[in-house]
């Protein structure tokens, strides 16, 4: 995802740097003198009729933070950022809260939280009120909490026989409306499953009736514990509004332990902690930058080997350097873990935090590495529009379509996993002292580069081939990876068909299965949703800040081109299908 500001207007910090204070430490950082351009930007923000009051406040905060210099990094790291190889996700130069925070709400429900003045909950109403109160204190990169908890597990103990199903639906409807109206941002995310229960059934019913983009939802699926009946109920909700994501609970537990949460888009992290930061490496830009340099004159297998062994480790280290500098600032200078009330109440702990190492552009990196005939100098296929929307053209090998190209993609993702696991990251003892790999799904302003390890929209193969092409990546990406399958809405008449596909996808090694159902009025952007109707009116503003990002991403990343997994509406063999 996802910057905190309006996607259509990337944050530009203008002004001349001015040195202040003493050298060393926070006070030694430089700040910029406001220029006329900067003042115009601030004025533009406060007078923009398309922005709500909250959106203006958040943008002003980002503008103020943008006046600071980022934590110091090497010249090589700065150069990699300038070249677009390493990207800081627009998090802002002075991280003063972790990017993603996953409070352990169960602790507050059971024992209260003194610094938040929350009493233990004794019944369902008190539990819902406590959660809404706690959400208001959760910091986030987006300004709104990205994790609402594993809600069915949290609430099921408060639902006894005295609460009828109608009561439950009514209360959870009110709760769901409050969540959407007070936290209007589609990165707000709740988890469900893997076990069946009254709360999960009710929330799935309520969600498809209300058809809100908030909250985003994940159903954790354990093939041995999650019954078909619950999956069927979830598929009906997916048909109505695109939610939930389906994640492979045993795979997640194996990587992160039983206490994990899925937040924001599809980012999986330790519960009671979270992620300090997420930086990302543009693999296609890494190849492109290396062509006139280390890859000059190299073609074929030699080019691939050289990039994997000499270029990728260096660019990965530069990404890690950026992440480490940001983590140190957050922990040592902003001192988040010494003052935040969630920390003081024990709902999050510093030793449960980690960092997310994002990557994207696998499809385009593969195309660039496999471009035939690229001898000396810059390949004609490596510039400008040659990185077409499908990442490839002409005789190029296509990731997700051609087996050799897909295999190279798998090799790249596996190499990334090995390198990230071998790269020390400060304050990441929660995850073995290193960051967690994440298939970053793009931001609104990305052009000509495909999210994570996804297959470019428009060139996805048929359903099973698609799953087989991407599944081998999933085991390597513990902090989350998602591939989107676009389905026809007719599956609502036979949800068992989708249930079989979900189970098969997990058996094939998928970590996350995400659907985008044609014609239901919702579009899956990266991992979050927008409503078509909201996108249509975005020029006049949007109540959900995520809609601005989604509207831009829809255009820039050609998401409407996704291929629908087509089942024949009336029985009939496809032309030329015989003799397969």
């Amino acid at each position: 995802m996802e910057t905190t500001v309006r996607g259509t207007e990337p944050l530009v910090v203008t002004g001349a740097p001015v040195v202040t204070g003493r050298p060393g430490g926070m006070a030694g950082r430089v700040r910029r003198q406001p220029t006329d351009g900067y003042r115009a930007e601030v004025l533009g923000c406060v007078t923009d009729p398309a922005l709500t009051y909250r959106q203006r406040v958040q943008r002003l905060a980002a503008l103020a933070e943008g006046m600071l210099e980022p934590p110091p990094v090497s010249a090589a790291c700065r150069a990699a950022q300038a070249a677009g190889v390493v990207h800081d996700m627009g998090e802002g130069p002075a991280p003063y809260r972790p990017r993603y925070v996953l409070p352990d709400y169960a602790l507050a429900l059971a024992g209260g939280a003194a610094h938040l003045e929350l009493e233990p909950a004794r019944d369902l109403d008190e539990a819902l009120a406590l959660l809404l109160a706690a959400y208001a204190s959760v910091p986030s990169i987006t300004g709104y909490p990205v994790y609402l908890g594993d809600l069915d597990t949290l609430l099921e103990p408060f639902v006894d026989d005295s609460v009828t199903d109608a009561d439950l639906d009514r209360r959870l409807t009110l709760f769901w409306r409050l969540v959407d109206r007070t936290m209007p941002d589609a990165f707000v995310h709740a988890d469900l499953g893997p076990d069946d229960g009254r709360v999960v059934r009710s929330l799935l019913r309520v969600d498809r009736r209300l058809r809100q983009v908030v909250p985003n939802l994940t159903l954790r699926v354990d093939p041995a514990r999650t019954p078909d009946a619950l999956l069927r109920e979830a598929v009906l909700t997916t048909c109505a509004d695109g939610k939930p994501h389906y994640v492979n609970d045993p795979m997640m537990r194996a990587d992160l332990g039983p206490d994990y949460g899925v937040v924001s888009c599809y980012n999986s992290l330790p519960r009671g902690g979270g992620a300090y930061t997420l930086a990302r490496l543009d693999l296609s830009a890494s190849v492109r930058r290396a062509v006139p340099g280390p890859l000059a004159g190299r073609g074929g297998a030699e080019r691939v080997e050289r990039w994997l062994t000499e270029v990728l480790p260096g660019d990965l280290a530069l990404t890690a350097e950026l992440m480490a500098s940001r983590i140190r600032f957050l922990v040592e200078e902003a001192r988040f873990f010494e003052h935040d009330r969630l920390v003081l109440d024990g709902l999050v702990r510093r030793d449960r935090f980690t960092a997310m190492f994002g990557f994207y552009g696998v499809a385009e990196a593969v195309a660039a590495l496999m471009t035939p005939g690229a001898g000396a100098g810059v390949s004609p296929c490596l510039g400008g529009d040659a990185f077409s929307r499908h990442g490839t053209r002409g005789t190029q090998r296509r990731y997700g379509v051609d087996d050799d190209a897909t295999a190279l993609g798998h090799r790249i993702v596996a190499a990334l996993a090995d390198l990230v696991a071998a790269t020390p990251m400060p304050y990441c003892e929660a995850t073995g002292g290193h960051a967690l790999l994440h298939a970053q799904s793009g931001i609104d302003t990305d052009l000509g580069v495909t999210a994570g390890a996804r297959i470019p929209p428009g060139s996805e193969p048929p359903l099973y081939e698609h799953i087989r092409a991407v599944a081998p990546n999933h085991v390597h990406v513990p902090a989350g990876i998602s591939d989107v399958m676009r389905f026809e809405p007719t599956v609502a008449a036979n949800p068992d068909a989708a249930v079989a596909v979900i189970r098969g996808a997990f058996a094939a090694g998928m970590r996350d299965v995400t659907f985008d159902v044609e014609g239901n009025g919702f579009v899956r952007i990266t991992g979050y949703l927008v409503r078509d109707a909201d996108v249509a009116g975005v020029a006049a503003g949007a109540r959900h800040s995520s809609t601005f990002l989604g509207a831009a991403a829809l255009e820039n990343q050609h998401l409407r081109d996704r291929v629908t997994k087509c089942a024949p509406l009336s029985a009939g063999p496809p032309p030329g299908a015989s003799g397969r």
């Binding site: 799953i467 036979n494 068992d496 249930v499 098969g504 024949p568 009336s570 009939g572 063999p573 496809p574």
Partner: protein, 254 residues
């Protein structure tokens, strides 16, 4: 020869049986319960005015090659982890009875595909004894009933319906009828009294019989069907009212 060798030879014999396969679809949500691999067999004894798949009617069209059972089983096995089951349709699958039996038996014994349910989508125009042969390897049949009235049936299909009614009766007795599908064409076979009589007869076979009404649509049909009227929402409402009043409880109308 040992028993194991004999069994292997039986399986090898099944896999070698050849049939005319018009095509396969590896993913369908509209051909029975769950996600189904669909095998379309070539040829049909009916010549329905309203056929949605006229290209599959001829018994020996050009371009459709003979395919061994083993090749179809391998295709199914490759996708088995995503599937609920296999549906054999057509054309009319029972016009190639030896291939149909061999295919279902081979799917049932192959450990890669044995867990998949095996369904047949049929017009019922076959000797009912075929269902006895299939029953051990068959989970369900979706059977089309184009009309209880024989004359109307001849108008619609070119053939009488005696064997269809025999198949229905036998499949209920064998507990292999998954659902009966009424293809209703406005003005031809959808009169209230015809629907009521059909419902009563079906319920006399099985009081809990599962009925699906497929209202006629022009999609895929030949020119000859264009003068027929497609169903409207009002038609569907009437079908539901009449069939429900007649006592049908498990009813789907599309």
């Amino acid at each position: 020869m040992t028993a194991a060798c004999a069994a292997r030879d039986v399986v090898a014999g099944l896999l070698a049986v050849e049939g005319l396969v018009a095509g396969t679809v590896p993913f369908s949500a509209v051909d029975g319960p769950g996600n189904r691999f669909v095998v379309f067999l070539q040829g049909c004894g009916f010549d329905c005015l309203v056929c949605h798949n006229p290209a599959t009617i001829p018994a020996h069209p050009r371009g459709v090659v003979r395919t061994p059972v083993g090749a179809v089983v391998d295709l199914v096995a490759r996708d088995a982890q995503f599937l609920t089951g296999v549906t054999v349709t057509g054309g009319e699958p029972t016009v190639q009875p030896e291939f149909l039996v061999a295919l279902l038996e081979a799917l049932a014994v192959d450990p890669r595909t044995a867990h998949l349910s095996r369904f047949v989508d049929s017009n019922g125009d076959t000797d009912a004894d075929l269902w006895d042969r299939l029953a051990p390897v068959l989970d369900g049949v979706m059977l089309d009933l184009k009309g209880l009235d024989t004359e109307r049936h001849i108008v619609l299909t070119g053939t009488d319906n005696y064997r269809v009614l025999g198949s229905l009766t036998r499949l209920v007795a064998l507990r292999r009828l998954y659902e009966v599908r009424l293809l209703l064409v406005p003005g031809i076979n959808d009169a209230d009294d015809a629907l009521t009589r059909t419902a009563h007869w079906l319920l006399s076979l099985d009081p809990r019989i599962r009925v699906r009404v497929n209202g006629f649509r022009h999609h895929g049909t030949r020119a000859v069907a264009r003068d027929l009227r497609a169903v409207t929402d009002a038609d569907r409402e009437r079908y539901r009212a009449v069939l429900t009043a007649a006592g049908v409880e498990d009813l789907t109308i599309t």
